[in-house]
Amino acid sequence: MLIIIDQNDSRPIYLQIADEIRFLIARGELPENTPLPAVRQLAGDLGVNLNTVATAYRELQNEGLLAIKHGAGAVVVSRTTLEKDEISLRKPLRSALANMFLAGLSWAEIMNLVVDEMRGLLRETR
């Protein structure tokens, strides 16, 4: 149940935190009613600003995945997001596929990567 942050990554930290939590929820490692650490605890542990963690939690709350408990962290409330807009779901996928193609991977290699990632995600889910 580890969350990993990379300060050298181009993505902003709050996005990394949100993505990591979403991934853990998707994998089933954070089932419903799991409490998440307080903003202060997570910010101190990762060495980031309090607002960074607060923003990540808020974004996930807006998506319907978390419920922020005032001053006491957050709780996973659902494993389904509120909005399921296909266009916004396709965009990161399109971008990732384009990157892999530009990196010189063949379609077969790309398929293997995709299937492997899916397996990784579904491994612990029902």
Binding site: M1, L2, I3, I4, I5, D6, Q7, N8, I21, L24, L30, P35, L36, P37, A38, R40, Q41, L42, A43, G44, D45, L46, G47, V48, N49, L50, G73
Partner: protein, 361 residues
């Protein structure tokens, strides 16, 4: 004579500890600080030699001083001993900042932490807490029960041999000073325990799972050490508080309490040593696995002025791992630092106040 010998033995043990202290955390470390490979041979070893030379000077001066004071003014022996202990720590404060300048400045950029909330209640055992409360109330109850039977003058100070050498008029300050101090201390220990549990807890992204289990062992040992101190302090202060009854108790009870106090002190120090040993073992293994002991970001590194003192306004964490040595220290830029100022200041003010009251009652 017995007290001088006892104190000298304890002193020599302390000296031994401080002699080996710099190299406890393993290869290429000095005072727990990780040095760059070449620097340890070229600069680290000379510092180590100078440190141990200073310790030797302190040792010789201290033994001479203790023997002298033992002969001339035996009552001041304990006070002299406190100065001696402070003297042993001075070389550490002198050479640790020098070592800090030689540190391996590598920082981590990929960090991991478990997404699990850490609460005081997860480290709290109901029966243990009950025992600590009982140990706090018992001496208080006994003192209140026997208070009417106490003579007008009660003993409040004993020399190392257990003979009373200081008296005061019977009153709230003289009889109940120690139980009240004990209660203060318990509050302090619990706040400290809570802060250690909430202290910054992280591992590098590489070998995260392995380092995580090691750091968890270290945290557990640290918390257990605090609980051990709570128990030992409670018993120690409770026993000494009961010594005030030694004038109306049979001599065997007074003697037993005296011996029990020394045994308790030894047990307390042994327990602390045991837990510190566990934490040092974890440090050694983390060092062997990753080449570092603590994992700091570049921003956090700036907050350490000399390896001893952490001041970082941008840091959300209050308690952080020391980059040199074992355990935690506080972020003095954090608002909570004021609480600790009060926690340390209040018992001191209370003690001085009570001692004054005892003298003038």
């Amino acid at each position: 004579m017995a007290d001088i010998i006892l104190l000298t033995i304890i002193f020599l043990l302390q000296l031994l500890l401080f002699y080996f202290l710099p190299t406890l955390d393993g290869q290429q470390t000095l005072f727990g600080i990780v040095l760059k490979n070449d620097d340890f041979q070229t600069y680290g070893l000379p510092i180590l030699r100078r440190y141990r030379r200073d310790l030797f000077i302190v040792a010789v001066a201290s033994v001479c001083g203790l023997l002298l004071i033992g002969k001339l003014s035996p009552n001041s022996l304990i006070v002299a001993y406190i100065f001696v202990t402070l003297g042993i720590i001075v070389p550490l404060f002198r050479y640790l900042p020098q070592t800090w300048k030689l540190r391996d400045k590598s920082t981590v950029s990929r960090l991991a932490t478990p997404l699990k909330p850490r609460h005081l209640r997860d480290f709290t055992n109901f029966w243990f807490e009950l025992a600590v409360i009982a140990l706090a109330i018992a001496p208080l109850a006994v003192l209140m029960f026997y208070y009417p039977n106490l003579p007008d003058i009660v003993p409040i100070h004993w020399n190392a041999a257990g003979e009373a050498d200081g008296w005061a008029k019977k009153g709230f300050s003289s009889v109940f000073f120690l139980p009240v101090l004990a209660a203060f201390l318990q509050i302090f220990w619990i706040i400290l325990k809570q802060d250690i549990i909430k202290a910054r807890f992280r591992v590098p992204a590489e070998q995260a799972e392995r380092i995580l289990s090691l750091k968890e062992i270290s945290l557990q040992a640290n918390v257990e050490m605090v609980d051990w101190c709570r128990l030992a302090c409670g018993v120690l202060l409770g026993t000494v508080a009961l010594l005030v009854l030694s004038t109306i108790a049979p001599p065997s009870v007074a003697a037993a309490l005296n011996i029990f106090t020394w045994v308790n002190l030894v047990l307390m120090l042994s327990g602390i040593a045991f837990f510190l040993y566990r934490m040092i073992l974890v440090n050694r293994e983390v060092k062997a696995l990753t080449g570092q002991i603590t994992f700091q970001t570049a921003d956090e590194m700036e907050g350490w002025t000399d390896g001893l003192f952490y001041y970082n306004q941008k840091d959300a964490a209050f308690m952080v791992e020391k980059p040199g040595g074992v355990g935690y220290t506080i972020n003095f830029a954090h608002k909570r630092a004021f609480l600790y100022l009060a926690l340390i200041g209040l018992p001191i003010i209370f003690s001085i106040f009570s001692l004054i009251l005892m003298k003038f009652q």
